[in-house]
Amino acid sequence: MSVDPWKGILKDTQRHSAYLRYFEEWEARIGSFLEYRLSQDDPSDSGRLPLGGVPFGVKDNIAVEGYHCTCGSKILKDFTSPYSATAVNRLKAAGAVPVGKCNLDEFGMGSSTDNSALKKTHNPWDVSRVAGGSSGGSAAAVAAGLVPFALGSDTGGSVRQPAAFCGVYGLKPTYGAVSRYGLVAYASSLEVVGVLADTVDTARRVFDVIKGQDELDQSSALYPGLSRDRGGNPGAAPPAASTARIAVVEGLEGLSPEVEETYRSSIDFYKAAGCEIQPVSLPSLDYAVAAYYTIATAEASANLARYTGIRYGYRDTGAVTMEEMVRSSRTKGFGDEVKLRILLGTYVLRSGFQDQYYGRAQKIRTAIRNDFDRVFAAADLLLMPVFPVQAFPHGDTSLDQFQQKLADKFTVAANLAGIPALSFPTAPRNGLPVGMQLLGPVFSEQRLFAAAEIHEKSLGGIPRPHGFRSV
């Protein structure tokens, strides 16, 4: 299955009305979009362009001209974006049509999308459960078949974890492989625009369109023509997926039985497919979450200093002085989790504390990169779980915000090291999806797609939630 059957769905009157009905029925149950417009005409010549007339969703921290860009926050509730992100513009140039903005944890801060100040999003497999986060709206929309793909952003797992919870593919590209122009900044050195997609082929085609250097983003990288070879040299052919050397981590703790069983069976799957399995240890993984949250909150406190109520966004009009206005606008505009992260980030950057926290975290970041370099000197890919548990119920008291942060252990390392990772769905357990992820060295996205595709073929297409209908 590919994205092609979606072409022209907005143009053809009969197909459009069936699509609209299907979309609205699902959307009423899962609340994946903060805003959508399906009535718009398909401006493209559907047949000619690679993604001509294909509808897609965009996480609401990525700018689409003419749509709001709320970041799931009261502080940007009424903000309309005057321009589009580079990734969105490239997709439009390839003929794809943005049909709406997807819900998220406020400013991308969370693992459930329950931190959105504007809307509740539910998991299409079980609406009493969360869709994951922070790109939960994007994942839910793709899982329910409302769009074949959606853009998300991944700062510490925010594409991969909701993809795993909802049973779709989630690509976190190499840092800098996709321009961040038009992505609202949270933690600039960690985050990247990613793709949530219904098939590996769709993810690959979307990534091929959005990747590459952009003069509007200083940190965007020139993408090498082919994956780098085993020695890290660009331009060499990637290894065949069926004979890849796959590293696996031994002795992972804290996994639910369902996730642990799936990890084992995924290892067995790749072994049976002809891959060489290499058990490795990643000692720095134990410190990844602490280093990640130190860096992410520090960068967040600086990036979110721009919300003052002066130039745009929410302003508390009752204030008498300028300072009062700024303080009160921020205090009323931000939610609790955002405030917590700003406070943490401000603290770790305070003079006297910087070496102890931020400086040390940046050095641990180097240790994590070294660990991955060591693994990828001998292996082509690394297979890991995405999250220790499956989608949890809304308001689950056994997994509070702090524990959700600790559970980011398997996803944050890729962001700290800047390497690509692809979350892929496996056979559901207890009626809920389980996601695993493949990681590789920088610019090895094609290798990740190839390895995930072998698994996809073995399933004969990934399982879909009850009520899913393909176009």
Partner: protein, 92 residues
């Protein structure tokens, strides 16, 4: 972190915290900082800090004129305006 440190931090972050929030954030921030302290167990001697991965050099954009001008549309987003000026409370 004690209440005093939290007050200073909130001040720097331009956030007003009421009594309820003080209590909640004191507990949450303290718990998280304790967790961050785990990093002290790592031997970081000889490790260079990583600030950005893959950021190889500064790049300048080509110096050329462009047709688009976003300034009017950006100004439309200002909460209060007089013409092309953004209105703020009196500072004097």
């Amino acid at each position: 972190m004690d209440i005093h440190e939290l007050r200073i931090t909130a001040e720097l972050a331009m956030l007003d915290l009421d009594e309820r929030e003080m209590k909640v954030f004191e507990a949450e921030v303290s718990k998280t900082l304790e967790y961050f302290a785990q990093m002290n167990a790592v031997d970081v001697d000889g490790l260079e800090p990583t600030t950005h991965v893959l950021m190889e050099e500064n790049r300048a954009r080509e110096d050329r004129t462009r047709d688009e001008n976003l300034s009017d549309r950006l100004l439309e987003e200002a909460p209060e305006r007089q013409g092309r000026h953004i209105v703020i409370p009196n500072v004097l």
